[in-house]
């Protein structure tokens, strides 16, 4: 597929990119849009460090071709200030210092923002199953992430069982 115009919305701004449709969304975000908060991790969909929201749902941007998000709404960590749920998640993570190196953290926060933004809000077990499937953390900061999840669920009156 050659370079062609790709229309999408990134953090609330409509953009048209002249880029090969098979280019990964991660590469578009980092290299074309200078949005570096989505990380380069494994580039094969295992570690989740690159997770962003597409139409509100968590998606691993490293193995998402940009053609597949044409016409859709992409949200990255850089938009936290304008995104109430994401900004709440970010605040709890910073308050609890739920990170060590922080490389995997933005992806985890994006996933949590996506899941907690759903209605009805998923329970803790569902969230953990989702994290198991799509996120890795090597520093071992899981305990603090779990604390953050409990706090976020409690803030919203969700079940923590």
């Amino acid at each position: 597929m050659g370079a062609q115009g790709q229309d999408l919305t990134i953090n609330g701004t409509a953009v048209t990119l002249s880029v090969d449709g098979d280019t990964s969304l991660l590469s578009v975000l980092r290299d074309r849009m200078d949005l570096k908060g989505s990380r380069i991790g494994c580039t094969e969909g295992y570690c989740g460090a690159c997770t962003v929201l597409v139409d509100g749902k968590p998606v691993q941007s490293c193995n998402t071709p940009v053609w597949s998000v044409a016409g859709k709404d992409v949200t990255t960590i850089e938009a936290a200030e304008r995104h109430p749920v994401l900004s709440e998640v970010q605040k709890v993570f910073v308050d609890l210092q739920a990170a060590q190196c922080g490389y995997c953290t933005n992806g985890i926060m994006m996933t949590l923002a996506g899941l907690l933004g759903q209605s009805p809000r998923p329970d803790r077990a569902h969230i953990l199953a989702h994290l198991d499937e799509r996120h890795l953390c090597r520093c071992g900061v899981h305990v603090r992430v779990l604390k953050a999840i409990d706090q976020l669920l409690a803030q919203s009156g969700g079940a923590t069982a």
Partner: protein, 700 residues
């Protein structure tokens, strides 16, 4: 403390540590680097405390070989113990210099002054003068050795609610070396084989060169890489090189039996470094056992990355290395440059947990950048990160001991076989950067060596802290094994403590004694006893709990390196088809605590990572080469497998700070092994303690 700390003695010029500029900030530069462990925040807190500044008045400057102090590697849990001691002393000296300048401005004497938020004032007065107002009167171009010993304030900062300045940025956008941008930056990728013994013979350089956007194809001996306008193009060019590459196999690998059988064929360099064997009456009971751990991957979440730029025969490198000075010397040696023609600036990377590919990729970037007139960022692939980064070394431990009639240990033998745990660049004579051996004019690797005692590498923590009668401890250093090995968090302590503490439980069982009571009966060291007693209390240790039916609890203890922090751990497990780690309780004595929340975070992370190594991780190989090319090949602990964690900090008045990031590794491994044995009545002595191994042990 009455003597100038060693790291300051070696870098006595205060201007290497501090900078006062026009902004109302104090620039602070340590030689210890941020690895995601929060070290620079703790060091800034030490500086702030001594200087009388708020933390947000400190500007943490990146470590840099041109401007900063040389503090060697950031490793071995020494950042606070050594780096913090130097920072504290130097900061206190700067405060005293400033106080003298303030006294002359305010017309008083320094001892009449207090300093708060950077302002010196007389007690009871509101007016004062700040560091920045005194800027021209404070001479930082002065040697710490020419100044009197300062008064140190010291003290713990709770840190609850305090935010690491670097994390605030990372958690909202860019912040890592992979995120760096420079004018005209080009992107590089390097070709590496799938087999550790393969060398590149040929590849279709012309095809890669012909790709639109490729700036250079770099070939030097067995080294090959590409430089392109974008990383995507570099990856496409790399794929062309890989598809066309032919390799020469220098040797086949021995079979991987998962139990280090390859060690039988290796010729060790053996040192019996402690031999107290004395003739005496034969013990009533003798016992022997063998334990093992496999190679373990560092498995950083971020792939190795470096930036390099050449200008007028000088090399500038940005690296997430743990040792920017040793790396600078190794790069200078590789390129035949004077040291002062190479500068390495530290940039934050993802957690590394030891010697991973950070240094190797720095040479890769420098080799690629030499071929173009622009800066180059070189990034490793996930596959190379999981296979070409050095691994934590495989280990085999054989223990034997005797018990007397009273059930006390009377003799103790410990022998450990392992390839090196320390092949960091700059350690030993030679160049230990991956590509250096591949060049047309190759550089030899340093001769075989391991981390020297008393800290030790493969023999780290091989000497038990217990009173065990005559001890005989032997270290068998093996030549490089099937996989390249170097420092992984805790080095040999993970395997040795697993073995010693498993063996202590086995001996206690033979003596018919409670494992907790048995340990205390062999331990006179008061700080060691204190953490064991503290963890037993916190976890409600019950000597009458007979375990079984899949439920068990186990204890593990060590003083890290026999020199560092004390740590005792109790693990609770439920064993059915899988091992569920229910709870880990730890008691840690790390001396004076600088940043309580930071220390807790490090211990928590150490516990979880060690649990992951112990229960799940092994890096293997086949005749075709590496077996770990993707996360699918190398599972680590996931979110639903995380135990509850309870940490008790045991304080010890006046004891100096000891690092906390590595102390839990061995005790956690042993506590899990002992808990599984307590639950099932059978013991697994080979890590990882997988369901398959447990089933085998049950049916053995």
């Amino acid at each position: 403390m009455s003597e100038c700390p060693a790291n300051l003695k070696a870098n006595p010029l205060l201007s290497r540590w501090f900078r006062l500029d026009e902004r109302p900030l104090m620039g602070v530069r340590s030689g210890k680097v941020e690895l995601g462990q929060g070290a620079t925040t703790a060091l800034a807190m030490i500086a702030a405390t001594e200087l009388g500044l708020e933390l947000d008045q400190i500007d943490i400057m990146p470590a840099d070989t041109l401007h900063g102090p040389d503090e060697g590697y950031t490793a071995g849990s020494f950042s606070i113990e050594h780096g913090g001691a130097a920072m504290r002393w130097a900061a206190a000296q700067v405060r005293e210099l400033a106080a003298q300048a303030a006294a002359s401005v305010l017309g008083t004497t320094a001892d009449q002054l207090v300093v708060e938020a950077g302002q010196f004032r007389r007690q009871g007065h509101n007016e004062g003068v700040t560091y920045w107002q005194l800027r021209d009167r404070i001479d930082l171009e002065v040697s710490a050795l020419d100044l009197p010993a300062p008064v140190l304030h010291g003290g713990t900062i709770d840190g609850k609610g305090m935010q690491r300045p670097d994390l605030v940025g990372k958690l909202s956008g860019a912040g890592f070396i992979q995120d760096m941008s420079l004018p005209d930056l080009l992107h590089g990728r390097v070709l590496r084989p799938d087999h550790p013994q393969d060398r590149l013979l040929a590849c279709d350089e012309a095809a890669a060169q012909a790709l639109d956007g490729v700036v250079a194809v770099v070939r030097d001996g067995h080294f090959a890489g590409v430089v392109a306008r974008t990383d995507e193009i570099a990856l496409s060019a790399l794929a062309l090189l890989r598809r066309s590459a032919t390799w020469q196999r220098q040797a086949d690998l021995p079979p991987d039996d998962g139990l280090n059988g390859w060690m039988d064929q290796a010729s060790p360099l053996s040192t019996c470094f402690l031999d107290e064997a004395q003739p005496g009456p034969s013990p009533a009971i003798r016992h022997a056992a063998r334990y093992s751990r496999p190679f373990i991957a560092h498995a950083s979440i971020g792939p190795a990355c470096a930036l390099a730029q050449w200008h007028d025969g000088r090399l500038q490198v940005w690296s997430h290395s743990q040792g920017i000075y040793p790396l600078r010397r190794q790069l200078a040696r590789t390129f035949g440059l004077d040291h002062d023609h190479v500068n390495v600036t530290h940039a934050h990377g993802a957690g590394c947990y030891g010697h991973n590919g950070a240094d190797d990729v720095a040479l890769d970037a420098a080799l690629l950048a030499r071929a173009v007139k622009a800066p180059v960022m070189c990034l490793w692939t996930r596959a190379d990160e999981l296979s070409w980064s050095p691994f934590g070394a495989a280990m085999r431990m054989e223990l034997s001991a005797g018990l007397d009639e009273a059930g006390q240990i009377v003799a103790w033998n410990h022998a450990v076989w392992s390839p090196t745990h320390l092949a960091r660049p700059g350690f030993g004579d030679g160049v230990n950067l991956l590509a250096a051996g591949d060049l047309a004019q190759p550089h030899a690797r340093p001769p075989l060596a391991d981390a020297p005692r008393p800290q030790g590498g493969g023999d780290r923590n091989a000497v038990p802290l217990y009173d065990v009668g005559a001890r005989k401890i032997t270290h068998h250093l093996l030549p490089q094994g099937p996989l390249r090995s170097s420092a992984l968090r805790a080095l040999g302590a993970h395997g040795n403590v697993f073995a010693i503490e498993s063996f202590m439980d086995e001996l206690a069982a033979l003596a018919g004694r409670d494992p907790l009571e048995f340990r205390l009966a062999h331990l006179s060291e008061p700080r060691g006893r204190a953490v064991i007693e503290a963890v037993a209390k916190a976890a409600h240790w019950n000597p009458d709990d007979e375990g079984g039916e899949g439920h068990g609890r186990g204890l593990g203890f060590a003083r890290y390196k026999n020199l560092g922090a004390y740590c005792a751990v109790i693990a609770e497990v439920e064993v059915a088809e899988t091992v569920r780690l229910v709870k880990v309780t730890a008691a840690v004595d790390a001396g004076e605590v600088i940043h309580r929340d930071g220390l807790l975070n490090q211990i928590e992370g150490g516990i979880i990572q060690a649990a992951s190594w112990t229960l799940k991780e092994a890096a293997g190989w086949t005749q075709d080469g590496f077996k770990t090319r993707s996360w699918a090949d190398y599972p680590i602990l996931n979110f639903s497998e995380i135990p509850a964690i309870d940490i008790v900090l045991v304080t010890h008045n006046g004891a100096p700070s000891l690092g906390g990031g590595e102390c839990a590794a061995g005790p956690v491994a042993a506590a899990i092994g002992n808990a599984i044995a307590h639950a099932l009545g059978v013991r697994v002595r080979d890590m990882p303690l997988t369901p398959e191994r447990i089933t085998q042990a049950i049916h053995a």
